[in-house]
Symmetry: C2
Subunit: 350 residues, 2 copies
């Protein structure tokens, strides 16, 4: 067998345990998965939701910093978050993987383990892909989800007067990234006399960055009940993504800084992180990769949110306006435009 063929075999094996599951009535069925020219799927009556997402070494992750199983896990979770953002149920994915020859051994095994774990959690099945050599590791993942016809929630339905919600604390992934990149913390956190306790605490803080959770249950719940007028996931930071939602809907927004749920920096971390500037509000406004949902709700639907999955974590942070700009109201009533300052691959330099 040729070497590329071998690689395809290994990938197929890594995901075999997750094989096609029974599917809901009206759901699609996978007839042919990896190994042929293409996958074949018989659709049911539902709408299909398709999205793709790239995850590149040197841009989205660093080879020496990020564990391979996190790279595998996160690349699939990130892509699937776009399905949550439409309210769709994940069904299938296709994986394009470019990888240097010297990482097709243990590195690849750990990467595939991480991705297979994510696939099990998300109940999404590998349906096909393409592998090739690359100078660095890069993945592009296409996800296919299903949703009742006409139920998908776009970015463009927000109306003035709607309340703006986020599904949980923002800035946690940014905090995790800062910690991971901060050598002093890594060294002291992992090697100090109180290694076990601080190690666990540190791992907890790193997790949102390395192994993010996404809001699938909430997304499908909101879509099924037509509860959200517009929805997206916060992948590039609230300031950037809210501007996109506003632009797509042709509306503006007023956000109250006080209401934006942000991380509390643990006291012991403040000591360790002596050199780090950690501003919880700034991380919440501009930090990327939280994958929380950002959605708008008509005032008449607000009461019904009480039975939503994870209701206690939902926070109203402001309201949709008829203007064009995103206005941030500060703690003392100060008012300013919230400029998009989240992640933009063409602005940031590594």
């Amino acid at each position: 067998m040729d070497r590329e063929g071998n690689l395809v075999e290994r990938i197929a094996r890594a995901f075999r345990s997750g094989g096609p599951k029974k599917h809901a009535k009206d759901g699609a069925a996978l007839h042919l998965g990896i190994g042929d020219d293409a996958a074949i799927i018989s659709p049911g009556k539902n709408d299909w939701v398709l999205s793709c997402d790239a995850f590149l070494e040197g841009v989205h992750f660093l080879a020496k910093t990020h564990p391979p199983d996190s790279v595998g896990y996160k690349s699939l979770v990130r892509a699937t978050s776009d399905l949550a953002a439409m309210g769709a149920r994940p069904r299938y994915f296709l994986l394009t993987l470019a990888i240097p020859a010297n990482r097709t051994g243990a590195w690849l095994d750990e990467f595939l383990n991480g991705m297979a774990r994510a696939a099990r959690c998300l109940k999404i099945v590998l349906a096909g892909g393409d592998t090739t050599k690359g100078s660095v590791v890069s993945t592009s993942i296409t996800v296919v989800g299903e949703i009742g016809s006409g139920h998908a929630v776009t970015r463009s339905g927000a109306r003035p007067g709607d309340l703006i919600y986020v599904s949980g604390t923002l800035g946690r992934a940014q905090l995790g990234l800062e910690l991971l990149l901060h050598r002093k913390i890594k060294a002291s956190g992992l090697r100090s006399g109180r290694a076990r306790r601080s190690d666990r605490a540190l791992q907890d803080l790193l997790r949102p960055h390395l192994y993010p959770q996404i809001q699938l249950a909430l997304g499908t719940w909101l879509a099924k009940r037509r509860m959200a007028s517009a929805m997206m996931d916060i992948s590039d930071g609230l300031s950037t993504d809210l501007a996109r939602l506003g632009s797509a809907s042709g509306v503006g927004a007023r956000i109250l800084a006080e209401l934006v749920p942000r991380v509390a920096i643990p006291a012991e971390l403040s000591k360790l992180a002596g050199g780090l500037k950690l501003d919880p509000l700034q991380m919440a406004l501009h930090g990327g990769e939280d994958y929380e949902l950002l959605f708008t709700v008509s005032p008449r639907n607000v009461k019904s949110l009480r039975t939503a999955p994870g209701f206690s974590q939902l926070k109203a942070i402001g309201e949709v306006t008829g203007g064009q700009s995103i206005v941030l109201i500060g703690p003392r009533g100060t008012q300013g435009t919230l400029e998009p300052q989240g992640w933009d691959p063409f602005r940031h330099q590594q």
Copy 2:
């Protein structure tokens, strides 16, 4: 607007003229294309065929050698060839594009022009994608095709006694690549006194490598009539791809070298290409990227092939056997195993 948003706008504009077309009865309909979290498609009664394909600078093309519009054109054609190989009609595609910031100007425009031209030829509509910065240009394209339920032709249906066909001359893309990489030819072909004539002749020889054609009409014809027992496209070379088809079907094959359609090297080229070793049979057996179809036909169906699109180009090159190996019968009856020596990204070094 953020810079990534700008890029998405430009991509959307490049493909706008091709916008969603009226679709056949029972066909799928695109409700929402680029710009939101994901594309939404209402499926019809047909089966769906999905595949993805990576195209990387330094692995599949060279920045200084390949014109950007060829990179755009070929990356989409390559991906769509997997749909032809199943007999499916192309419908939608998603584009992941990683690109260095310094190529987001004229280079990107030409790239998008080439890709938009391919999309018009193939009648395939851009439904979504992802853009990011990368150290080199890389694309991953996911294609979605439709086919009558149960009609897709896999690699696994070949049976002993079936005849093995290829849809046209093999080795043309390899010849084009050799010429493109051979500086002497480039210089003399483009600058000699007889520039116009030799230039045109050279362009004709380069075209199969730079702007490949794929066999969509033949593929759908064969699938619709259940005329092929197994089918795939020859992307990595006959020797490699026939081994894959044999392995998927659990069969072997006997190929007659005399019957393999190969390029005739023009006399004037032989002079120019003094330093080049150009063996038409070797290029036909192992050269990649021809995107001709390789398919097997039960003897009882052979007569019916006469009305196939491009029938005059179809060539029977051997037969399926009950063995496991691929045997090549040479011009004087010599017999040997045809080892897979086509393109394998993990063997070849640039």
